[in-house]
């Protein structure tokens, strides 16, 4: 498990010394992902906000117990997970079971491939696939594309969205994500794959509709 970075150590010091600006930065930095993660436990928007509030209070009250053996954010999100689980149980919602159900829908719609009965090209692409290597970042994620991409993340199942946001938006390691979401590495990869493939399809649809 990763130890706190220099930036995190400064943050923890700032919090301990009662530096409100440091706290505000931490709130801005972590709260959006915390809200996202709380939703994984089946909580609505208001309950997710309550849980985030409860988490920050617990964090402040137990700052002295933070020994820096894990990174600050792993510690923060572990506390969030506990709070969210507790709230979810109190609301008698069905807490997502740790066991993992594999989704069977294909990554790419099967109409894009030659059918299994094809004598020569069974299972091979029957449609064009554009390379995105040379598309500038601005075209992929500026203005409307960015809004569409965000909207597509919001339509993902909660766990897919949480894995995607932590891994690809926030840049967490797979180890950290597995720890916080209680996933095996393989299940984490499957969820990440499902999320990326759905977002790919959304982006492809946008690029095609936006072509000159």
């Amino acid at each position: 498990m990763s130890a706190p970075t220099g930036e995190e150590s400064r943050l923890v010091e700032g919090l301990r010394s009662g530096d409100e600006a440091a706290f505000a930065r931490a709130v801005d930095r972590f709260t959006p992902a915390m809200l996202r993660l709380a939703r994984v436990y089946g909580l609505g928007a208001d309950a997710a906000e309550d849980v985030v509030q409860e988490t920050w209070l617990r964090v402040l009250k137990s700052l002295d117990q933070f020994e820096g053996r894990s990174s600050f954010r792993t510690w923060l999100f572990a506390i969030l997970g506990n709070c969210a689980r507790g709230r979810s149980e109190a609301e008698r919602r069905s807490v997502p079971v740790p066991s993992f159900e594999r989704e069977e829908s294909p990554s790419v719609d099967e109409s894009r491939f030659f059918p299994a009965q094809h004598p020569r090209w069974a299972g091979m692409w029957s449609t064009l696939v554009d390379s995105w290597e040379t598309i500038p970042d601005e075209r992929l994620l500026a203005g409307e594309a960015r809004d569409r991409f965000r909207a597509a993340i919001d339509t993902l199942p909660a766990r897919h969205a949480a894995v995607f946001v932590l891994r690809d938006v926030e840049g967490w390691s797979s180890d950290e994500v597995c720890l916080v979401l209680d996933l095996t590495p393989e299940n984490q990869r499957v969820l990440l794959h499902r999320a990326r493939t759905r977002l790919r399809a959304a982006l492809e649809e946008y690029l095609r509709s936006d072509s000159p």
């Binding site: 509030q53 209070l57 009250k61 990554s107 091979m124 598309i135 991409f149």
Partner: protein, 86 residues
Amino acid sequence: MSDRSADSCQQVVELVTEYLEGGLGASERLAFERHVAICPPCRGYLSQLRRVSTVAGTLSEDDVPERLRESLLEAFRDWKTSPKDR
């Protein structure tokens, strides 16, 4: 995973994240790379999933709802001035 061969494009597209994440065994990885080396559409697909992942890193999450932010800052001030909690 039951079938991890990379004979057809339809199989390859299911393996891309496993490949990018280092989840394939040595022979599976080799078969994947062999397929992609001679298959332009699969190379295109690989580039697409890579881009989804990298452009996501340029996204920032939404802003914190203002009401929540205010109430957190208030809670911080309370905590700061309440010796029993510190």
